[in-house]
Every structure is written in structure tokens, then in C-alpha cells.
């Protein structure tokens, strides 16, 4: 709603572009990118309200429409300034900031936004649990009020960056006797606090992109609570919104990514079998159709024409990535049975997915992470096509009484 009124305002005042460009010029002259350390530059960028243009002034923004930020980043990149912080602190800057902007007190925003943007404090997200995967709202990590503090016990999984994060966005169960969606509360937890135990979670490639995080009597001050007690699900939804958009939304050049790699392998091996060729062309066609679909979706979205084109990306790419990488291994024939880099357990190396074998293994998770394909198909069927939901046995029960096997 707040965004709404902002964008209306910005439509009225055409002076906004000018103001933005003037501020960017100021920033660049006062802090020349080539001579200014990134962290210092990002701090200055925040102070000028050029971090999240749609945030209120004083909180890294100018109270303008979101589109202005795109412009700002273009100008900064053109001037050789780094926007790497958006990648280095992805979960904070892309998701955490949105959560704080929508749900936090000014005091909380003041405390957290600036060091988040400067990457001095890395953020992570603590939602999934061993017992709560697709059903995040079934989570069991307990938080119990004790004076001005909350005492947290439980386990979270699939947490990226937890091993280098200072702050974690955590959803907890504060009222087990309320229906599952109503008994949750959202906190920002200090990942360096006593009782927080972060362990690498090794995946089938032997690498650990993710972590398990254990909470044993971890104390969180009540002022680190986001929004009301019991409002945790509402805040969690705000967070998840941003997540799924991120996946499969971007549009890539034709013949890039896994299908590009498959074509490379086809050429490198000099394979010319007609059957494999048709299979490669089939996958290429599927990938190109998916690519054109996301380009079309982005165009229609920015033209304000609503449509289903956007919702299919993650699902489609999950299946395609799995098929393409599996086929690429097949293309290698006997060499497809090899795994040059071996399996010693480690944190991931970048660019490892060039190896067909590793890409084949890693992509098995594409249909699971960030929403399983089964859940995405439900969403597509129910939200986009308007098909009725299934009978729910868990919705109105007190969480404590929901069957969990």
C-alpha cells in the first residue's frame, strides 16, 4: 500500500530523475569509486538515500518509486562503482531490507540497514526445519518469553551464509496452542550469540553450500522482535515473496547456461549420432521456449499486463536443468562415468558446474530448493488457474495437535 502511494507521488513529480542524478553525481565526486574502499563507498551511498530509493529518507532511501533504483545502479556501474554488495549480502539486501522496511520500527531500521548495505554485517534466513520443508508454517523451533528476552530452542536447515552471517531472520513458534499460522513470531537473531551452533550441511556433490543451525537456549532481546508477537507468518510471507521471484525470473542469452554447455560438449566430443542430436535439439527447443517465455513475461509485467507467463519459470527450469545436465553426462559416454574433481567434503568452489557430472548432481535439488515442484504446481493450479485447494486437515487445529507422524 505504502509503495502504491509512493509510486503515485513519483509519477506526479518528474523532478525525481533530476534529483537522483544530482545525488549520484555528488556521491561520485565526494567518493570517487576508484579511490574509495567499497565499504566506505556503500556507506556514503546509503547516507545519500541511494541504497533503496523507495525507502523513506534517512533509511537508505528517498521515498521514490522502485524503478529509480535501477537507474541509480546503472549510473553507478557506469561510473565504475561496485554493486557487489547486493550479491555479497544477497539475503540481507534483497530480502532482509524489504522485511525491515515493511515491518520494523525506525529504531530497528536505523540499527540494521546501514551495516547490512555496507556488508559489514552479513544476513541469513532461518525458516526451513527438518520437520518443516514445504510446510514452513509447521515449524517447531520454540521461543519462550523470559523477562525482556526470548529463549530459543530448535534446529533450522538449508541456511546459506549462516557460517559468515552476523544476523539471522528467524521465525519461531511462540504459541503452540494457536492454529499453525497464528502462533509464530519473527526475530532478528545474533548469529554470534551463545548457543548458536552452525554446521556445514554437505550435499550429494560433497560440497556444503548450506548449513544446519542449532539453537540451544539462545537469548534474543525483545527489541529484536519484528512486528507483533504472533505476527511471524505475515512477516515470513513478505520474506518468501522476494525469494521465489529471484529464482528463474531473470532472462539469459540464447543458448547459455546448461544448454550452452551441452552444445559445447556435443561439439567437443564431435558426437554426430542422429538420435542424440534430436534429443539435444529437443532440449535446446525447450530451453529456448522457456527463455522466450521469461522475456515475454518480463515485457508484459513491465507493460503492466498481468499474466501467467511469470509463474512458470522456476518449475520449467528445474525440470530442464535436470534433463539437460543428465543428457550432457550421457553425451560423454564412458567419460560420463568419471568425476574428475572427486568428492572430498568442502565448501563450494565457484564455477564447478562446468563439470557435467557435478552439474548433473547439483541440479537434482533444483526441483526441491526454494519450493518443491509439487508445491509450485499447486500454486500454479490454485493461484493462476483458480483450481480448488485440497481438503486441509491442519489449518484450524492448534499447532500442537497437528499430526506430524
Amino acid at each position: 500500500p505504502c509503495d502504491q502511494s509512493l509510486s503515485e507521488r513519483s509519477i506526479m513529480s518528474d523532478g525525481d530523475e533530476g534529483r537522483v542524478e544530482r545525488l549520484v553525481d555528488e556521491l561520485l565526486t565526494e567518493h570517487p569509486p576508484e579511490t574509495t574502499p567499497d565499504v566506505e563507498f556503500w556507506g556514503a551511498q546509503y547516507d545519500k538515500g541511494l541504497a533503496w530509493a523507495w525507502h523513506p529518507e534517512g533509511f537508505g532511501g528517498l521515498g521514490l518509486a522502485r524503478k529509480h533504483q535501477t537507474r541509480i545502479d546503472q549510473l553507478l556501474e557506469a561510473a565504475g562503482a561496485s554493486t557487489e554488495n547486493r550479491y555479497l549480502n544477497l539475503l540481507g539486501i534483497a530480502m532482509g531490507a524489504g522485511v525491515l522496511d515493511a515491518h520494523a520500527t525506525d529504531e530497528q531500521k536505523r540499527r540494521w540497514l546501514r551495516p547490512m548495505f555496507t556488508t559489514e554485517e552479513i544476513w541469513c534466513q532461518l525458516f526451513s526445519e527438518p520437520g518443516a520443508g514445504s510446510d514452513v508454517a509447521g515449524l517447531a523451533t520454540r521461543a519462550v518469553k523470559d523477562g525482556d528476552e526470548w529463549v530459543v530452542n530448535g534446529q533450522k536447515v538449508w541456511t546459506t551464509l549462516a557460517h559468515i552471517a552476523k544476523w539471522g531472520m528467524i521465525v519461531t513458534r511462540t504459541d503452540p496452542n494457536a492454529p499453525k499460522h497464528q502462533g509464530m513470531t519473527y526475530f532478528i537473531v545474533d548469529m554470534e550469540a551463545p548457543g548458536v551452533d552452525v554446521r556445514p550441511l554437505y550435499q550429494i556433490t560433497g560440497e556444503a553450500e548450506f548449513n544446519e543451525v542449532f539453537f540451544n537456549d539462545v537469548r534474543i532481546p525483545d527489541e529484536h522482535r519484528i512486528d507483533a508477537v504472533g505476527a511471524g507468518w505475515r512477516v515470513a510471507v513478505t520474506t518468501l515473496m522476494n525469494e521465489r521471484v529471484a529464482i528463474g525470473g531473470a532472462s539469459v542469452p540464447r543458448g547459455s547456461g546448461y544448454i550452452g554447455r551441452a552444445v559445447e560438449v556435443w561439439e567437443e566430443t564431435g558426437e554426430d549420432d542422429a538420435v542424440l542430436r534430436d534429443e539435444l535439439l529437443h532440449l535446446w527447443s525447450e530451453a529456448e521456449a522457456a527463455r522466450l517465455t521469461s522475456i515475454r513475461a518480463n515485457q508484459l509485467a513491465s507493460a503492466g499486463i498481468p499474466g501467467p507467463e511469470g509463474s512458470t519459470g522456476k518449475l520449467v527450469w528445474a525440470n530442464l536443468n535436470k534433463e539437460i545436465t543428465s543428457f550432457t553426462v550421457d553425451l560423454l559416454g564412458l567419460d560420463g562415468t568419471l568425476y574428475p574433481e572427486g568428492y572430498e567434503l568442502s565448501r563450494p568452489q565457484r564455477g564447478g558446474l562446468h563439470e557435467p557430472g557435478k552439474a548433473f548432481l547439483r541440479t537434482r535439488a533444483n526441483s526441491i530448493e526454494g519450493g518443491t515442484s509439487e508445491i509450485m504446481l499447486n500454486i500454479l493450479g490454485e493461484r493462476v488457474l483458480g483450481l480448488p485447494g485440497e481438503p486441509r486437515v491442519d489449518k484450524d487445529l492448534p499447532w500442537a495437535e497437528v499430526p506430524r507422524g
Binding site: S251, P253, R277, A289, T293, I295, T312, L315, N378
Partner: protein, 374 residues
């Protein structure tokens, strides 16, 4: 990169064409009429054709100097999508699309001046006779030969899968001239010409087999070898057919989704079961992919290199999507979807036949491979 300058958002004119077309087809054609026509001898309604002509549809993509509306392939694809939605019968695709494209691509200016106006007005129904072998979709005429005699030509040979050949006033026949491929205009009443209608899997789009025994007075339309323009003609026809396939596939998905909401078994709408819900979601994905490839192909017709990629891409993706969605639509409907009285089968038959008409998906992928160097 071609992406940058292709815009997929429909213009107001295109939206207008869509609205008018949908309204006309629903009101004046409609599936009841489709059923009458599909069981009729020639599957053709001259009155309906006249009405379409009055709307300027046959000339939609013909230049104004030739009496057409001077619109392009994108506008035509919108119209075809709407026609596909109701498996509209009749020679529109054969005459206003394929034959018209062939003349535009291959004929020399004065021949275009002679032929296009009556095609634009709908007075003449034309069709392209190109295929000879049952399989392979080869474009080089091997059976059909043309020899000059005076200022016209004599054509001998045989063609198959000539769309609506039994309705055509004018046949456009490809024949080998010894030094390449020529395109020849032959009146349907010419001596030595036999046109026999075949019974088709898709009763809403008819075909004929054509034999030519020393047919005199054939007028050559191209100047020299038309191999290249024939290839381009088939690409454009494939792109156009893809738009029609999208319309049919979209309609099948809508039928399935509507039925899944209203049909109850075991006290629940069947659409609340994941088996049906997820199938419908997969229909949506396939239809969206089909649209993306068809819309793209219609928008890059000016770029030969890109068209050589986009057309077979759309041809294979839309064919497979339509056949699949039309089949699954029957499954979602269960028994009723297998009955003659239900409309589901009209789409299945149109889908299956369309997937073979201009080249199977496998054949289209072969063309795609040549275009992208795989």
C-alpha cells in the same frame, strides 16, 4: 541479439483484431456450425467465406496496392490464433495464408499484380501443391516436371496433401524445370488436371490429391529457381500454423480447467486432486511456451536468419504442445471427452493432423539444427 528489439506486448490494433475475430467466429461460425461443415461433402460454406471476405480477412496480409489491408504476419497470427480457438473450417489457411505467402515470396511483380487482388477480395481461392512423397516433407519436386510450350508451360506429375485442393480455383504447383524449381499457376478446370478430395483425420481441414497429365497453359510465376523463396514460404507457413495451434491449445486448456472446477467426484471438484491440478498446471506451461515461440516467430519474419531458427522452433514446440494438451483435455474430461457429441475430439484431430501437415516436430527440429549449426 535479436531479443532486444522484439516486442511481444500486443498493440491496440492487434487487440482490436482479436476482439473482432473472436466475436465473429463465436457468433457466425461457432462449434455447431463447425460440426455441420465437418460432416458435409466439401466442408465449405461459401456464405461464411463471403462474410470473412467482407471483413477483409483474406487480404489482411496483402498490401493495400493489391487491395489488401496491408497488415503484417503479427496481425495475421492474431487472426489465426482466434480461428484455431474454434477449429474454424474452410480454405482460409490454404488460400489466404499459404498460397498468398507463396505468391508474395516467389512471384515476380506483374504476376503478383495479377493474382493478389482476387485473393485479397476472396474471389479466388488458391492453394499451394508442393508435397509429393508421403514422408520427409521434401520440397524439391521429383515427380512433377514443367516444360515450356510457347509463352506458357506444360506440367506433368502428382502432388499430395494439397490443402483444400477440392475448393481451389487456382493451384500453385511446384515443378522442376530442369534448371531448378518453378512455381506454376494452374486453373482448377484445366485439362489433364485431376483433383480428388481425400478423407482426412481432421475433418475440419480437408486435403486433395492432385495429378497432372500434360496440363497446358500453366503460367510460371517466379523468375528462375524458387528453391530459396519456397523454403521461406514454408517457414512463414509454419510460423502461421503455429499461431493457429496456439489458439487451439489455449482453448483445450480452458476447457480442461473449466471442467476440472465444475466436475465433482467423491464429493470434491476433480480439479482439487493433484493428478488433475498438476496436469492442468503442466498444460498452462506448455501453452505459454507454445505462445512464446509462435509470437516470436511472427515477429521476426523480416530477419531471414532468425526466421530460419524461429519458425521450426515454433513448429515443433507448438505441434507437440497442442497434441499433448488436446489429448490430456480428453483425459481430464474422462468418458464424456471421448464422445462424438463433446468438442474435445475436434481439437485432438486438428492438433494431430496439424503436427504433420508441414513437417513433423522431428523434421522441424532437423531444420532447426541446420539453422543453429547443430
Amino acid at each position: 541479439m535479436v531479443d532486444a528489439n522484439v516486442s511481444y506486448a500486443p498493440t491496440e490494433d492487434q487487440e482490436l483484431i482479436r476482439t473482432t475475430a473472436r466475436q465473429f467466429i463465436e457468433e457466425r461460425v461457432g462449434l455447431e456450425r463447425v460440426r455441420e461443415l465437418m460432416m458435409s461433402e466439401d466442408g465449405f460454406d461459401r456464405g461464411l467465406w463471403k462474410e470473412m471476405a467482407d471483413l477483409g480477412w483474406p487480404g489482411l496480409a496483402i498490401s493495400e496496392e493489391h487491395g489488401g489491408a496491408g497488415l503484417g504476419p503479427v496481425e495475421m497470427s492474431v487472426l489465426l490464433e482466434e480461428m484455431g480457438r474454434l477449429v474454424t473450417p474452410g480454405p482460409f489457411f490454404a488460400s489466404a495464408v499459404v498460397a498468398t505467402i507463396a505468391i508474395q515470396q516467389a512471384a515476380i511483380p506483374e504476376k503478383q499484380d495479377r493474382l493478389l487482388p482476387t485473393l485479397a477480395s476472396g474471389e479466388t481461392i488458391a492453394t499451394l501443391a508442393v508435397f509429393e512423397e508421403p514422408r520427409g516433407w521434401g520440397l524439391a519436386p521429383s515427380l512433377t516436371k514443367a516444360q515450356p510450350s510457347g509463352d506458357s508451360w506444360t506440367v506433368t506429375g502428382a502432388k499430395r496433401a494439397v490443402l483444400d485442393g477440392h475448393l481451389a480455383d487456382l493451384l500453385l504447383v511446384t515443378a522442376s524445370t530442369g534448371d531448378g524449381v518453378g512455381l506454376f499457376a494452374i486453373d482448377s478446370d484445366a485439362n489433364g488436371l485431376t483433383i480428388s478430395q481425400e478423407s482426412t483425420l481432421d475433418p475440419t481441414r480437408r486435403q486433395a490429391t492432385v495429378t497432372l497429365e500434360g496440363v497446358d497453359g500453366a503460367s510460371r510465376l517466379d523468375d528462375g529457381d524458387m528453391t530459396e523463396s519456397l523454403r521461406r514460404t514454408m517457414s512463414l507457413a509454419t510460423a502461421a500454423l503455429a499461431a493457429e495451434q496456439v489458439g487451439g491449445a489455449q482453448r483445450c486448456m480452458e476447457m480442461a480447467v473449466d471442467y476440472a472446477k465444475s466436475r465433482y467426484q467423491f464429493g470434491r471438484p476433480i480439479g482439487s486432486y493433484q493428478a488433475i491440478k498438476h496436469r492442468c498446471a503442466n498444460m498452462l506451461m506448455k501453452v505459454e511456451h507454445a505462445k512464446s515461440t509462435a509470437y516470436h516467430a511472427a515477429r521476426v519474419t523480416q530477419d531471414d536468419a532468425e526466421l530460419a531458427v524461429a519458425a521450426p522452433l515454433a513448429g515443433s514446440v507448438c505441434s507437440e504442445a497442442y497434441v499433448w494438451v488436446a489429448g490430456e483435455n480428453i483425459q481430464v474430461h474422462g468418458g464424456i471427452g471421448f464422445t462424438w457429441e463433446h468438442d474435445a475430439h475436434l481439437y485432438l484431430k486438428r492438433a494431430k493432423a496439424s503436427s504433420l501437415l508441414l513437417g513433423s516436430p522431428r523434421h522441424q527440429r532437423d531444420l532447426l539444427g541446420r539453422a543453429i549449426g547443430i
